[in-house]
Structure formats: structure tokens, C-alpha cells
Symmetry: C2
Subunit: 409 residues, 2 copies
């Protein structure tokens, strides 16, 4: 092996990936879900039924449904989006994609050029931030409160950009179970957001991929449903409600934008078997599966919060999230979670350090995201105990091992 | 709906897609396969077995296999590539991707920048040409003969580029069942190609996605296997051997390039269920399924060649391809296949006009690609008869309806 590829790499190519070394013993990262909650029997039965009935169609790209995706899946989604999110659309307004990450790529692909500006939530999904950085797009972060993006701050940012003759390409929001803070934007604030969007001519990019996982099952209507102008692009996924390794997401948008995204989607269609199995499974089972999944996840969240209280005491601050699979935790200012991440990995605990999930690394310096869906309750307890030990050794936080203190108090 | 997205689209955005209007009655386009040959029973059994055994792992991105893809599938591929193509590699040298189109995107992603130059076969895969055009990359086409890329022409092109201080980023070739000409590059010519590649420091990008479909099952070793320097990137797919709607392909490359592609692959993994089902099915059944598929395809090719002889007589010239799913046909110079395409569509016959598969539109002006795997034998006969009628009306070719002439001769 003597051929040297390095001189052929273009400028700005991301550095190489490290070889995968296996998962950490205690993994609190990523959008992984609960293995006990994968509906294995249901998916098996669905796979049997749909393969027997329609397996021959796998010989054709896009099956018999064309490039927008398997029609029964789009029909299921149109019905679900109507009943859950108040969205009136037909299967024709939906584009099935390979996970919501491809949705991000397609929305970015049709709207963004190097040097553009977008508005996003100050704490937000790392995958969105990484993509914007690679595209050379300027991301203006808007601070959050207990209801998500703050409208006073959004109004100021839009006005400020307008003064500088900058028209942002979109306002990216995760309004329903915000990632990583777990908040839900109320209907009133959604109305304000749409008003600002229309006033400034900046579309809303609504990422709703956690919306199925609200503890009480009740959600405000989607921004897409509330908009009277069509200035919203809505995306979602089956990763959180069924299984993340199935790479199936979707985009709902007007044909003016959807037709452009379709022209950019030159992948000969998303995986057909996964679409077929999901449609076959979800049409009869989604509404019974998801509440069961939510109950299981909520139980794990309670275990995580208990473990944090026990191990970190008052050193770990967090708000009880309204749903989802993650908890956003604030440690004392002395803790640098990028450093904590390194030491924790060495001890077998994987966490998401706050600065990777924020446009304002100083604000999130001592914050971290803990995903609780994948580890068992016992792993959650042990993992948090290990994390507390690592954190105490490195930062003196918590001051002493809280559970010992409590046990003797 | 009043929001106007158009002013937000960046310069150079591809035009919108038309809404899908359903498949043509006689479809001779695309890499579609024979619906009768999809191994539905085998895939169903595989899906049952693997879901029951490992369905829980769908809760984790990348299953338990990490970001390079499902390990049993990579192990199957390492064994298959060894026995079929002479490639010595392990599962660690393979990256599973979402169809070979994602492989094209990743190879392009790590090597190409706007303004770069690559070398390709003069007649080649349309999806490769489209991608290069969108990336703003200059594609230098090398003329073909009955054994694929002509080495004298390649040597001249490389020398000419070198004189102009241009180092092409790769030489893209489909050496084994060339698309669209159906030729196979012999071992001697492969050696010459590798020699030129090394001499000029230009890597080879080997697209082997039709290599399973050689009529006699015998193929020369892959360029990747023959290279002594590691200057080859090899890609392949299950689209042609199992089913195109399953979006599973793969890349074999040294870690210096593979680690860069992995860093560019920010899609959270390719569809896991399709990988699992393919691994479970292929490990025991691939070597019996593929010869059966080949026999079926060869039968359809014979029907297509007979129908062309019958309907077009000497007006349709073609070489008997060595394998694959398409036939590259030359009509008389007076026929413009871009125009023929339009009239044929109106008559319910879809063809691939030659200029879309070539860097030299004048050379391919009267050529067309006919894919024969998807239509039935009866549809092939009727479709070719309809095409001949359309062609005669528009171009006076064939001069008279050949089968009538023959019937009376």
C-alpha cells in the first residue's frame, strides 16, 4: 500500500473518523432507544405480511409508488399528522426520506449557500449545528426559556439582521420536546413565531422528531398546521417512536419546495423494505405501541432523576422534561463538561457535553445531555454513580458522595 | 399559500421535479429487475429469523456493529469478494452504504472540489455524469471498444492533462459489464490501466455493481485485487443481484480514504433492517440465487435481441453483452434518440436516450439503452414493436415494418 491519497483531498475536508471501538458500558449519548420496547413480534408479522403480498415490487426502484416513497406509508402519515398534529395534507405532500438527517440535508440543500445566515435555538441538535458549520452557514442562536425559543430575542435578532440587510434563510426550531432542553412551545408562542416569520419573510423549519414522545400524549398543533401562508417546512421520523436503526423520516411541505427537494434527492429512493414494514406495522399498531413506549421511557427518566439527586444532590440542576429521551443537566460553573466527557469516557461512561449542543459554548460549558432510553435502570444508576465519582475527582463536584451523606443523615 | 420560497433558493439550484405520473406501460429504463426473480420466500424467512434473533438491536443506531454497517453483512461481503473478485480484505475494510449512489457521493465527497477534473468512460452511467455536472467537475471521456476503456486513448488523455498541469482526481470505470455497453475489461487491459494509474498518480474508482450478472459467471479479478499500491476504490451493490429497492451498497478501500468517507457519512447509518435481511439471506443463498437470476435475465436478453432483429432488421446494431440488464443499441445516424424518447413516451414506451449516457453527445446521438430485466417477454416484444412503429413514423427507420417484410419473404 503505497498510493498516497492525501494530496488529492480537497481543502476543508473533515478529518478522518477514528475506528469504532465498541459502545461504552454506560451510554448516555445519541438517540438510541430502549431495546425492550422494539416491537419485535409486530415488526416480524408486518414483514411477513408485506413481503408475501408485495415482495415482488422490490424489483422496481421506488416500488410501485414513485420517488416520493411507499404510498401506504405516506397515507398512514397523512392520517397520523391530521389526528396528532392538526396537519391537513395528503400523501402527495409528503416525501419519505432516509431518516430525518436526510431531511435536514434536503432542506439545507434547497435553501442554503455558503455565507448564508439561519436562525436556530441557542441549545439545539448537534447534527444541525455540524451541518451548518460544514456548509459555511452562519447560525444565529436564540436563547431559550421554559417554553422554548424566546420571542423577544427572536424579534430583536430578526430586526438586527434586517438592519444589516441580511435575510435569514430559515428559523430552525424543535418546538415539541426541544432537543436538548425537553420543553414544549405553547400555542400562543407558536402564533407569535409564525407572525414574526411572516413579518420578516423568513420560513420556519419545524423539526418535530420527538413529538410522539410527550408523557401525557397531548401536544399543541404543529406550526405547519397553524401557518396560513405555507411558510413552514415540517419534518419527522420513526426513529424515536419505533426504532432508530430503521432509517425512515419524512418531509411535509408545499410542492414549490418539495419538488425542489425531490430534484436534489438523487439516491434512487429510500430503503423500501423499511418503509413497507413500517407502514404495515404502524397502520394498525402505532396508537397502542407509542403510549406503552412513553410509559417505559418515563420510568427510566424517573430513575435518572432519582440517581442524579442521589449522587449529585443539589449540584445537578434540571427541569423535568415534558417528554423525549434526554435530560439537560446543569452542573456547577466550575465543571467543564468537555473535560468531564474525556474523563467519563475513560471510566466507561459516555455523555453529550453541552458545548457540542449549543451556539453559545460559554452558556453550555457546565451543561450536559443525558439520554436515558437505551441503558437499563440498573445501568442508569451505576452510570450516574460512576459519573459522579469521575466528576468529584476532577472538579470536586459533588463535594462529597451524596448518597453516603444521606445514608447517615 | 402565499409564502414565496423562490427568492430564497440559491443560485444554480436544479429545477423542480415533475410530479410522478406512474410508470410507462413498456419500461426499458432504469436498473429495475425482474419481479419474478425477487427471492420473496427466502427474504421472508431471513427477515423472520434475523428479527426474532436480533430485532432488539434496532433500538441502537448502527445496531451492535458500529458506523461501518452490520458486521455479518460485511463478513459475507469479505468472503464473496475473495471468492468472486479475488479481493483480500476483512469486514473492517468495508463500509456499507445506502446503495451504490451513496458510494458515488462519498467518493466524490472526499476527492472532488468544483473545477476539478476526472477521467471517465465516454459512454457511462448517467447518475455518475449528473453528479459530476452538479459538482462543477470536468469529466474527460475516454472512447470504448469491445473490451471497455481504450488504453491508447487513456494514455493520451493523461499525458495531455499532465502537459496542462492537471492531475485528475480519479479514473472512473465500470470494468465488469460496462454500463451501457455491456463489455468486460480483460485481465491484460486491467494491468495496463493500473500501470497508467500508478504512473500518473491518479487513483482508479472501480464501480463493480453489475459484476454478479455475467452470463457464464466467470470474471477477471477486480482492479482492487490486482493493484499492488492500494490506489483503487472499489464499490458494489445488492441492487442488481437481489433487488434495487433495497438500498444497500458498499465501498472497499484503504483506511486512509475509508476513514475520510466515514467522516462524511453523517446519516446515522444506512438502513439496518435491509442490511440484516440481506446478510441473513445471502450467506446461505447468494450462490444459488444468482445463477438462476442470470439464466432468467439471459432469456429476456435473447427475447429483446430477437424482437429488435424482427422489428428493426439491420437498422438496429448492437453487440451481444456479456451480462447485465441492458443493451446498447445503435440506430441509423438519421435518428435522434432524444427526440425518439419524447415520441416513445407518448406511445407508452420509456427508453434511455444515448446522449444522457455519454460525454460525447454527438457520438451517442443515435444510440439508446434498453433495459430488459423488468418487462416480461411479452412486454419486451410489444414494446419493441411499438418503438419501431414510433421510430418509423418519425425518422423513416426502419424503412418498412421488418416483420411484415420477413413474413412475406
Amino acid at each position: 500500500m503505497t498510493f498516497d491519497f492525501a494530496p488529492l483531498f480537497p481543502a476543508g475536508l473533515p478529518g478522518p473518523s477514528a475506528k469504532w471501538a465498541g459502545a461504552q458500558k454506560f451510554n448516555f449519548t445519541g438517540g438510541n432507544n430502549d431495546p425492550d420496547q422494539v416491537p419485535v413480534e409486530g415488526l416480524t408479522a408486518a414483514s411477513n405480511a408485506v413481503l408475501q403480498r408485495e415482495g415482488r415490487t422490490l424489483a422496481t426502484y421506488g416500488l410501485a409508488s414513485g420517488p416520493q416513497g411507499y404510498r401506504p406509508l405516506r397515507e398512514f402519515l397523512a392520517a397520523k399528522l391530521k389526528s396528532d398534529a392538526g396537519i391537513s395534507c395528503t400523501f402527495d405532500d409528503i416525501l419519505i426520506v432516509s431518516g430525518s438527517l436526510q431531511a435536514l440535508d434536503l432542506v439545507n440543500g434547497v435553501l442554503l449557500a455558503r455565507g448564508d445566515t439561519v436562525i436556530i435555538e441557542q441549545e439545539t441538535y448537534q447534527g444541525a449545528l455540524t451541518r451548518l458549520a460544514r456548509l459555511g452557514v452562519n447560525a444565529v442562536g436564540i436563547p431559550l426559556d421554559g417554553e422554548g425559543m424566546r420571542m423577544d430575542a427572536l424579534a430583536s435578532a430578526l430586526a438586527d439582521l434586517k438592519r444589516r440587510n441580511i435575510r435569514p434563510k430559515y428559523i430552525y426550531t424543535i418546538p415539541t420536546v426541544q432537543n436538548p432542553t425537553g420543553t414544549i412551545m405553547g400555542e400562543g408562542r407558536r402564533r407569535e413565531l409564525l407572525k414574526l416569520s411572516e413579518e420578516y419573510g423568513v420560513p420556519v423549519f419545524e423539526d418535530d422528531c420527538y413529538a410522539d414522545l410527550i408523557w401525557d400524549g397531548k401536544r399543541p398543533p404543529a406550526l405547519y398546521a397553524m401557518s396560513k401562508t405555507g411558510g413552514v417546512i415540517h419534518i419527522g421520523s420513526f426513529s424515536k417512536s419505533i426504532a432508530p436503526a430503521l432509517r425512515v423520516g419524512y418531509i411535509v411541505a408545499g410542492w414549490d419546495v418539495l419538488s425542489r427537494m425531490l430534484a436534489m434527492k438523487i439516491d434512487a429512493g429510500s430503503g423500501a423494505l423499511e418503509q413497507m414494514v413500517l407502514a404495515e406495522y404502524c397502520a394498525p399498531h402505532f396508537t397502542t405501541h407509542v403510549p406503552k413506549l412513553r410509559r417505559g421511557l418515563h420510568g427510566k427518566l424517573e430513575t435518572l432523576m432519582e440517581a442524579l439527586n442521589e449522587q449529585f444532590g443539589t449540584a445537578a440542576e434540571f427541569d423535568d422534561p415534558k417528554g423525549g429521551i434526554f435530560l439537560w443537566v446543569k452542573l456547577p460553573d466550575s465543571v467543564d463538561t468537555l473535560k468531564l466527557y474525556q474523563s467519563a469516557i475513560a471510566a466507561g461512561v459516555a455523555i453529550n457535553p453541552g458545548p457540542e449542543w449549543s451556539t453559545n459554548p460559554s452558556h453550555s460549558r457546565s451543561r450536559l445531555r443525558l439520554c436515558f432510553a437505551s441503558p437499563s435502570k440498573e445501568e442508569i444508576r451505576q452510570g450516574v454513580a460512576t459519573l459522579a465519582e469521575v466528576c468529584r475527582k476532577e472538579f470536586g463536584v459533588p463535594a462529597r458522595i451524596a448518597n453516603v451523606e444521606r445514608a447517615t443523615s
